[in-house]
Symmetry: C2
Amino acid sequence: MTDVKPSIEQVPGFRVAGVAAGLKKNNALDMTLIVSDAPCTAAGVFTTNHMKAAPVLFDMEQLQGNKNHIRAVTVNTKCANACTGEQGLANAREMARLTAEKIGIGADEVLVMSTGVIGSQLPMEKIAHGIELASGSLGGDWAAAAAGIMTTDTRPKEAYAQVTTASGATYHIAGIAKGAGMIAPNMATMLGVVVTDVSLPADTAKGLLQSASETTFNRVVVDGDMSTNDTLLLLANGVSGVTLQSPEEFTAFHEALTAVCRKLAQDIVRDGEGVTKFITLTVKGAPSPEAAHQIANTIATSPLVKTAFFGNDANWGRIVAAAGRAGINIVPEYVKLWITPGEIEAATDESLLLFTNGMPTAYSEEQATAIFKNASVSILLDCGAGLGSSTVWTCDLSHDYVSINGDYRS
Amino acid sequence: MTDVKPSIEQVPGFRVAGVAAGLKKNNALDMTLIVSDAPCTAAGVFTTNHMKAAPVLFDMEQLQGNKNHIRAVTVNTKCANACTGEQGLANAREMARLTAEKIGIGADEVLVMSTGVIGSQLPMEKIAHGIELASGSLGGDWAAAAAGIMTTDTRPKEAYAQVTTASGATYHIAGIAKGAGMIAPNMATMLGVVVTDVSLPADTAKGLLQSASETTFNRVVVDGDMSTNDTLLLLANGVSGVTLQSPEEFTAFHEALTAVCRKLAQDIVRDGEGVTKFITLTVKGAPSPEAAHQIANTIATSPLVKTAFFGNDANWGRIVAAAGRAGINIVPEYVKLWITPGEIEAATDESLLLFTNGMPTAYSEEQATAIFKNASVSILLDCGAGLGSSTVWTCDLSHDYVSINGDYRS
């Protein structure tokens, strides 16, 4: 039995801290430390950007050498440590070494994450100060840990699942994430850490994490930009004593992990830069799932579609035009388009059919606008040409997005 | 010798009209008619969108059957006649038939173009009225013809070249275009018509038009959206008596045609929806021209890059991050990035090097911002990994873009 909750209660064997190291102004939380009392198996999913930030390169190397004995993750905001050359790599290493020193573990047992502006070197004095503060205040304050990794996020993102096995044992999965901008369909989270007290071989952890991120973090689109720093980590310390053994147990874990990742991924969209509307966009009837995803992604990244969402405009014309340029051979006469209030991946009694037989229906513009005025709107595009389907979660493009990003560095 | 001018003087044998048919409010010009006294060879380049509008399907068919005997082009605004099914195709045919009837030619000698909102049927009474008005006022008013095809454009776009051959003969090339939104790298113009009084075989016309559009219209990026209606037509009536014969003469024509198309394409960017800044973005040192174009296009369509342009922010971090996610294998340490005021495809004495050796240089932020405050800024990204290069013309993403497109249909 799985119980999913929006806020994290406890994950035995993990202690956390979110502190103000002086990276942000006004004494805001800006660094987070997660420590496991027992060694963890660990896995990571990283940005496929060719301009990988130093912490990404560092973690990839660290996990190659020591995926069965990770003890801590240190995260800083305000500075992405990206495009920082040899000095940046040295600083990422130093960030791990300082963490290890403060909590009395090996430097090869620490992973690091950075987020913020590209191209500045880490302010290592403040980083050292933050690590010292955090290592001295480790405890159960996951809300602070979630807050300590935020950049332009307006609220912390956390998710929590408690799973009870058939034999009555219990284990936990907790995750925190940050998003806001540079959110694209390839490894969409900016930063995310998921921890569990189940016992899990590192290679299994990697496979499950990849699969879970494929259907969650990789399905959210804020602006189509993919960051230099995107990282999702999974740490499993085995403290619960539960070792997954049967297919049923693996399935239950996979489902709970996916639920935690989905909650975090959707929160990233809901809190995207300048977002006023949450869109559940499903493309079905495509020649393949990949084709469906390509169409969904083309629609979700179209500035014309996204500004129409912002204007509460049921502009199906821009949606089908975007579908038409996705590079997939679709036949206009087979295409159907519905809108529905809420978050749903199918057509229901509440759905309004806007387009069929290559033309708009005689739908009521008033009714369409009423649906689009909801904070959550679902769009279903049926290509009528196969069994492939894909759902992405996306948002509108607003004045605030332009303001936030036209003025980010100042 | 080629003389390129911003406004059209005359092209012997062509008469035009721009009229107010009542499609737009306030008696604004909303339909354009171009008529040749002599039959023209004609060629077209069309949107690759799978949701092709009725006039696109009609013209493609018309040119297949009658590419050596075209006499007129009729254009309407406000209604794109896209996603309009059989009725839309019938209306496109009727628009051609009405034109033919009014000017006394065959219905198979007319091409039609439509631009505007997707999904409405053409208001055929107004269209008929406009054709009647236009056919009665044909003359040399190219400014009115350019104005009659505008939608959210703020100013008409025209270009003109006069070419004198080695033997002293003279011919002309004139073009009008409309753009503003839904401008993407695949067949970027919304609508464009180029006419010439040179004599040109239809197949040659097609090849030259494709080549010219490849390096002009297909290099402009406003928002990355590709329309259902994008059409570029070339009509050659041969009235000048000049028939291109030598390689030199073909080259001169090709260059003049490209110059006309480049002027129109750049005007489309300059007048893009909400544009405050004109960016000349060159990627060189890529493994191939296609790879260079893919990188340039990824940068030019990035909302984060475009909002930074709007904010006068020399945010090289977002530019190299976009380059890194373009799917081309680039090595950060080989990449160099310069910015230069004006419109230039190379680095000069005025250029500022922002990024090299995988890191930002110690450039002056004040100097970078000063360059970015120009109305025209050039960006040069050298991947250091080959001979492929590509230049695109693009713009910023502003509040006005969001306003215009959040509220287009109302």
